[in-house]
Assembly symmetry: C2
Homo-oligomer: 368 residues x 2
């Protein structure tokens, strides 16, 4: 019998998961549920879903697997509603929210001792676009997709969820919900708080010092890019991950106080160590070279700044059928000038590219 899955919340994330599921399992029947009528109609017309559900009853009765692709608080809200319905035996419910402790605790409370199964999920990718019209079958390719088992789920449930999601081409990682929320509080939530704080600080400062806005360039721009994120979603995240974030904020204030004391006391050696240590760690971090999402090998090419030379370089790669992961002119003048950065999947591709470029042009290539 064909499995039926339900997508509650059919935006960018829900739509992209649906497309990924269908890529690997075209036979699966997908039911969509969303407050936006037009999203549902669009998704149906595009073949992202097979059927539109107008109420939760219908989903409860027919779905073997239910995805909650909603902001954290709303996901929990729907979980509560679902628990009151007549769910199918052994229904597997999962979500795509940014925190995992709150929803898994609630799921255990609701489903412990029932036949319903809950596994938390967090596909760690997104887009600057939103809505189901931006849904992309490749959105989660090579991205980490965190799964957090609960006391209601067994090993075989995790495996069957991974199989269902195999068409997303993600990297699945199982973590405890607590560990997920701890790690994301460090690598994602605290940085978002800081980025928003830097933007607000510089804005306050520019009232008395108008040139602040003019001189906020490269480094400042990079550091505050994530401050453009959706405020509703981030409010939810901060409240949902409150316990971890209070610990992070305390540690962060302490670290900043230490630096402040070093400056006040003019402790040159300690300040040097602070920056030297950071530089060393940053250079060694997997995000810098390899091991992270994804591991790139970067080749730098000195080129005159016009489309002709870029076109020439991409032509060399095309002729040799060398696959390019990314291309970028390093534009931030505060850091770099006149350099084309080419990213490759592996060292072999990089070396072949270097050979191709250097043998056919005057452009100088180097690695860093």
């Amino acid at each position: 019998m064909t499995k039926k899955i339900a997508m509650i919340g059919l935006g960018l994330i829900g739509g992209s998961i649906a497309l990924g599921v269908k890529r690997a399992h075209p036979e699966i029947h997908i039911i969509g549920f969303d407050k936006s009528e037009s999203s549902l109609i669009f998704a149906k017309k595009q073949g992202i879903i097979d059927e539109i559900a107008n109420d939760l009853e219908k989903i409860a009765h027919s779905a073997d697997i239910i995805f909650l692709c909603l902001p954290v608080k709303l996901g929990i809200n729907f979980l509560n509603q679902l628990s009151e319905k007549n769910l199918k035996p052994h229904v597997l419910i999962t979500d795509a929210g940014s925190t995992k402790v709150e929803i898994t605790q609630q799921a255990e409370k609701l489903f412990q001792g029932t036949e319903s199964i809950f596994i938390g999920g967090h596909p760690m990718a997104g887009s600057h676009k939103s809505g189901v019209s931006a849904a992309d079958v490749d959105l989660f390719e090579n991205a980490y997709y965190i799964l957090t088992p609960t006391s209601t789920s067994g090993k075989e449930d995790i495996e069957s969820l991974k199989t269902l999601l195999s068409g997303l081409h993600s990297k699945f990682i199982e973590m405890k919900p607590e560990e997920h929320d701890a790690v994301t509080s460090m690598v994602s939530h605290l940085p978002h708080i800081i980025a928003a704080g830097l933007v607000a600080s510089s804005n306050n400062y520019s009232i008395e010092h108008p040139l602040t806005k003019l001189l906020a360039a490269g480094g400042f721009r990079d550091m505050t890019r994530i401050a453009s994120s959706d405020p509703r979603m981030w409010t939810d995240i901060l409240l949902s991950n409150r316990v971890q974030l209070l610990k992070q904020m305390q540690r962060w204030r302490e670290m900043m106080s230490e630096v402040e004391a070093m400056i006040a006391k003019e402790e040159s050696d300690k300040i040097y160590e602070y920056f030297d240590n950071a530089r060393e760690i940053r250079t060694k971090m997997p995000i810098h070279k390899e091991g992270a999402i994804p591991a790139f090998y970067d080749l730098f090419v000195d080129v005159p700044d016009h489309p002709g030379s870029i076109h020439q370089v991409t032509g060399f790669l095309l002729n040799e059928e060398i696959s390019l992961m990314n291309i970028k002119i390093l534009e931030t003048r505060e850091e770099i000038a006149g350099v084309l950065q080419l990213s490759f999947k592996n060292r072999t591709d990089l070396k072949r590219a270097q050979q191709a470029i250097e043998s056919q042009s005057e452009f100088r290539c180097y690695e860093l």
Copy 2:
């Protein structure tokens, strides 16, 4: 009579300024001074300088204009040494250090009542490369070059310095030293302290939570990129701009404490306002769209991720002779996927590019 200028410190900055000076004024004679013998020999051979000076006496006797292209503290050190030499009458001394209050105060102390003239300088650009071998005549093109007059300098001195530097194609801005140090403490120095702090925090955290390093992706990477900067230079900057930075750090801690309190008290509305305010400001900031260095117009193109489509797109631009300021695959999966970002100097170029791409391919173009 040909003017003689001396470059004290012949690294990336000194070398690039020398090249820029020569571009506009090939007749000017440039004397180089550096602790590195090989840098001097390289620079002489490459025509970056015309003459090597082995001691400061020689520079003092012959130079009409002296550049100190050194880290802040070392620059002041050389300023002291120069003040004890027999300088040419009306010699103009300037520097390229990252803070301006300390060096201008010292210059006024040393040169007040003498015929020597000091103007502070800060060309706001750099490179990931260093040393005179990386010197680039275009390094400061379109970058802000701050000039801070002193009580020893007149309006005509500023003008003659700007004329001397016209070949750099920079945007000159006159500021008070105090204002320079205040603004850079906000847009550059505080962000550097924060970036290094985030790296150190995540490193500490990864001892107990090893997945921290694995999951530190897009946003985290962007926010900590500047933590790879030279620790010696940054130690100098913090000490030299101590007064402003202590104020910044205090305000920063207060802001972080406020956010911490909002989280602790679960003040949903205040947290929402914090993020919403930051998003609004960030979007309006000149760094986002226009007014800053440089003003770009971005066109986004949905393309399949392979060099063929990039080659195709750059080909369209080349055929139409549309000048491309930058090209980038938006790679950070946490934010964006499968999009080629093309940056143009003006809206006309952008519109022509969109027309060219859409009429000759299936690629969808849009602005954000």
